[in-house]
Subunit: 351 residues, 2 copies
């Protein structure tokens, strides 16, 4: 630490991303990336001509991208806010709406970035325990009178709330913002976008990093009321106006025109997920009913940390969270057929 | 404004980027972009294979990019912090080191984003008037006992301090951070990087947007002590760990290997700048001795706002700041030979 760091950040503990190791070739099942490349049209859209135009700034208003998203989701472009990954969107949102001294409630087991944002921005965080079976108890959030962020489906549990359940939470907290982080929604079909027309205290956040195979491109977005998007833009234009570069705008806009390809990728991942659940259960694992592109699994006899380390030694990366209640679980991303065969071969040997 | 926006931001006035208009074809001399495309090697480095790898996250540690920069500047990779444009770097720096209630001093006429950051992060800002001739009076900053940000060369004046003058400021404020924003330094040769080995309270910020013809790629960086970079990474990993995407990492790293091409572009821009100064002086304009890729010019008889509007009507965009002391000036980016001919043709007609 330098002697110049502001006191507010002295005890800040940053988010720990999943390992990105290059020391050998790994079967990488630890950061919930898609095993499929982006759509062929996306891979071709950045040509030498596009690269030659990079001397000019990107469009800070992101007109092409917000337009594509608005059309696809049936909302106004003024209801779309785009960021440099959905982490960027969540950071701006929590900064804008929870602010210093504001409130935020989230499940105790969820995306581990939420408490980091709260700490960074001086937000009073309330972490609400999941039920024993890792489900979110809707009643815990009804009329809570705080801003709320819920990952739906939740990570790392993989469990999802229905649109109806989310609506109960949103409707009962009209004076507070409810952020539904739908990073994994395309694997479950439970998007809350349809609620936007009735609730102005709802923000739905999605990403291009999972179902759209574009984690390395860094594009995420929020759909909300025009007033909320206006506020987010106020923060963005006070922080980093040109927050998405020309290549990302171009490729992400193209991705929105390639839905058939991505639907097929999702179908394959969902099929592989169900197969993986069954095989893990056959090996004695206990699993949640994941609606995402990962599974969350615990073995009654084998320590998860041991399995994580043994798999890593054998060239398979999965994610282990050394945290209360979930330290006996592994989060395993659904990879390609070949990757999953490699994973099961090593896992069976270890067991 | 939504009813959810935190009170701290109700009166926030965001930064206004230069106009990015698409209603007709313009000679665009308003945002200090390079008129040259990126180096040929940069334009070829993003191929279909690279695009196909975008399903995987970018490297949050930015090892390739910080390595290239460290080698090029003769510092340790641990002294390099990279951001999604230098605006991102400045935002993180002012957040980390000035914080809420901290101090920041800057010239009253400078990059108009500095006061916005101060407002966003609740920093006590001191704006120090430039001298009558728009120069920065070094004595105003000696032992000031506040954090300092100075654009060197300064914008929109184009004037620069010598390394010796910057050193006087840095040496006299050992307990405060001095940020030298060198966005335009490659057009003047006065970089303060050499001071880093002697002063741990100095941060030098540069960008790929100007001399490296990559404004649309969004990459900027800071060089500072290892402790300062560690602090910046703490904030980054609490805000947006994957802040630069794979395409930007790849293209910017390649740009660092194309110095000969960029040196030639800079030489042409500097030659064009000197020619432009002479032609404007011949037309009766008063100019500062700009060391950047733009000129700052005022006509004794013609209102700058009128000239700006008349040029825009004729398809030439320049920048006019409707602000005290500089409202009689135009900031005109140095474009290509052809663009400058077009600019002078229209300007002569207007005059």
């Amino acid at each position: 630490m330098s002697r110049f760091l502001a006191p507010a950040y002295h005890n800040l503990v940053p988010y720990t991303p999943g390992e990105q190791l290059n020391d050998r070739k790994y079967i990488k099942l630890n950061t919930n990336e898609s095993p499929f490349p982006p759509a062929p049209g996306v891979c071709r859209v950045i040509d030498e001509g596009r690269m030659r135009s990079l001397n000019l700034y990107s469009d800070p208003a992101l007109t092409a991208l917000t337009g594509s998203l608005a059309e696809s989701f049936g909302v106004s472009p003024k209801q779309v806010f785009c960021g440099n990954g959905s982490d960027d969107v969540l950071a701006f949102a929590i900064m804008a709406f929870c602010g210093k001294g504001g409130t935020l409630a989230c499940p105790d087991i969820s995306y581990s970035f939420y408490p980091v944002y709260a700490d960074l921005f001086g937000v009073k965080l309330t972490q609400i325990p999941l039920a024993e079976d890792f489900t979110i108890r809707v009643s815990d959030y009804v009329g809570i009178g705080k801003n709320i962020v819920i990952a739906n489906p939740n990570a790392p549990t993989g469990l999802s709330l229905s649109v109806k359940e989310v609506e109960t939470i949103v409707a009962s907290n009209p004076e507070h913002l409810v952020i539904i982080d739908e990073a994994y929604v395309d694997f479950s079909n439970d998007t809350c976008v349809s609620l936007l027309s009735r609730y102005d205290n709802l923000m739905v956040v999605q990403t291009f990093s999972k179902s759209r195979s574009l984690a390395g491109l860094r594009v995420g977005f929020a759909l909300a009321s025009e007033a909320i998007v206006e506020d987010l833009n106020k923060i963005k234009f006070s922080f980093n106006p040109y927050n998405i570069n020309t290549l990302s705008i171009t490729a992400a806009s193209q991705a929105m025109r390639e839905q058939a390809y991505y639907d097929e990728c999702v179908a394959q991942i969902v099929a592989q997920r169900e197969k993986t659940k069954k095989r893990l259960a056959d090996l004695g694992f206990v699993l949640t009913d994941s609606k995402t592109n990962f599974v969350f699994a615990s073995h009654p006899e084998k320590k998860a940390e041991m399995l994580y380390k043994a798999l890593k030694e054998r060239g398979v990366l999965v994610r282990h969270f050394n945290a209360p209640r979930i330290k006996d679980y592994l989060r395993i991303t659904i990879g390609s057929e070949e990757q999953m065969e490699g994973f099961f071969a090593e896992l069976t040997r270890i067991l």
